[in-house]
């Protein structure tokens, strides 16, 4: 078989940071524009065209900020777990960059989810914080994100840090469903899931459409920020390598 004529699969070629950079640069502008469009449409729907809830009134609009961030909080973690596999199994060098870039974004979405949930909880339940199943699960997810970020910072060497974080991410991924299940056990106050469930959504279409648009907007925002952060991380690593090389040349060049 002629090996040279075959072009390797795209994800293999992306292992080359230069190839990745070219692709990222090409994608970034359209992604940013799409993000803006989706946010404009979604926010217009959320604040102008969608009706106020007959029970909750205007506060229901917090949902359009709150729920998509909860989706993203989980989605980002799933993406990190996939990148962790890429790091451990395929030793894909860009996978650990993606992992590192994603963690603070995931933590950010989780924090947005917690804070907006708290703002929603005050008028609805009369309390800023309630130790109920879903709030608590999201809080634990937030703590796991923080642990992963702390582990990144604690180990200096990027390759070693990447593998340690990959293992932690996967162990966390195995544990998350168990944590979710166990926390659901002492479930108290939060309403049951109402969008993704068997038998279709129970919220009305006039609210669902803007909600889904906001979900798309969040997803696009995440992808754009992820690409920017990955480019930055690659650049930072390159600078560090060049600095080491320069220092090396200086110390050996002075003697010779």
């Amino acid at each position: 078989m002629d090996v040279t004529s075959q072009k390797p699969a795209l994800w293999m070629r992306l292992a080359n940071p230069a190839t990745f950079n070219v692709l990222a640069n090409r994608l970034l502008a359209p992604l940013a524009v799409l993000t803006l469009v989706a946010f404009a449409y979604g926010l217009y729907g959320a604040f102008a065209t969608s009706p106020a809830d007959y029970q909750q009134g205007e506060t229901v609009r917090i949902m359009y900020i709150h729920v998509p961030s909860a989706w993203l909080a989980l989605f980002v973690y799933a993406g990190m777990a996939a990148s962790a596999l890429g790091t451990l199994v395929f030793r894909h060098p860009v996978a650990d960059v993606a992992q590192k870039a994603a963690a603070p974004l995931g933590a950010g979405f989780t924090l947005i989810c917690l804070i907006t949930g708290s703002f929603w909880g005050k008028p609805m339940w009369g309390t800023w914080w309630e130790w109920d199943a879903r709030l608590t699960s999201v809080l634990i997810l937030f703590l796991i994100y923080l642990g992963i970020i702390a582990l990144w910072r604690a180990i200096d060497e990027p390759q070693r840090a990447a593998r340690a974080v990959a293992i932690m991410t996967l162990v966390g991924a195995v544990n998350l469903p168990i944590i979710k299940f166990s926390v659901d056990w002492w479930y108290t106050l939060h309403q049951p899931a109402s969008v993704f469930r068997m038998g279709g959504p129970t919220i009305h279409k006039s609210m669902l459409t803007p909600l889904l648009w906001m979900g798309v907007a969040y997803l696009l925002l995440y992808l754009s920020l992820l690409l920017v952060r990955m480019k930055t991380e690659l650049m930072a690593r390159r600078i560090e390598r060049l600095q080491i090389l320069a220092a090396d040349r200086q110390s050996s060049g002075g003697g010779a």
Partner: protein, 221 residues
């Protein structure tokens, strides 16, 4: 098999000689329990109500305490290199190390639990479930800790980070363990949380040694 027994023996001897043996573990729990009334007041009813929580938190604390030295000491004096080169699978060796750690933390707590429970005024019918839940659940805590210890093995001051990594993962164990005692104290059936607790422990037994072995191996490329 010999290697495993040798490790178990070594860990046991080390624990005894550096003053971290099982009896000291029990003293630690006794102290923790004595501190609680000073913090919450000498209210027998309140203490009785939070007793399962106190004992489970004590188990969590005791597991965390020695964890950052569990592998680090071996890393520093080169034992980890020997473990890595051994013919016996690393995951198995690490499982034995976890067993040794549990033998001086979780096991003594489980055995002393009825006595400590007496001091905390736990309902008599909850005494055996309490001991059983600790006996079944504390291995999970140690195993989760093993992964954290392996991940932070190269860090000089990894203790705090270790706790941050490990504690969220220990939540299911805590929930099911404390529920066993609560249900038993209320005179209700407690087999469901006990079975779930066993499930968590078995799952951790399956994944934690492998994950820890991977972490140790990857730490040196």
């Amino acid at each position: 098999m010999n290697a495993l027994l040798a490790i178990l023996r070594r860990e046991w001897l080390l624990a005894r000689r550096i003053g971290a043996g099982a009896e000291l573990g029990i003293v630690f729990f006794l102290i923790l329990i004595s501190v609680v009334p000073f913090a919450v007041g000498a209210d027998q009813k309140l203490i009785s109500r939070i007793a399962p929580a106190i004992l489970w938190l004590a188990a969590l604390l005791a597991t965390l305490l020695g964890l950052d030295r569990l592998l680090q000491a071996d890393e520093e004096d080169g034992i980890v290199d020997h473990l890595l080169m051994s013919e016996t699978p690393l995951s198995l060796l690490l499982a034995v190390k976890a067993l040794a750690h549990w033998a001086v933390t979780g096991l003594p707590l489980s055995l002393a639990a009825p006595l400590l429970g007496l001091m905390l005024a736990i309902e008599p019918q909850a005494m055996m479930p309490l001991a059983a839940s600790l006996l079944i659940g504390t291995p999970a805590l140690t195993l989760i800790g093993l992964v954290g210890a392996a991940l932070t093995v190269s860090l000089k001051r990894g203790g705090l980070l270790l706790s941050i990594l490990v504690l969220p993962l220990a939540i299911p164990t805590l929930i099911f363990g404390a529920t066993v005692v609560k249900e038993a104290a209320a005179g209700r059936a407690y087999s469901t949380p006990l079975l779930l607790l066993s499930g968590v422990s078995l799952l951790m037994l399956a994944i934690a040694p492998v994950a820890a072995a991977g972490a140790l191996r990857f730490a040196r490329n």
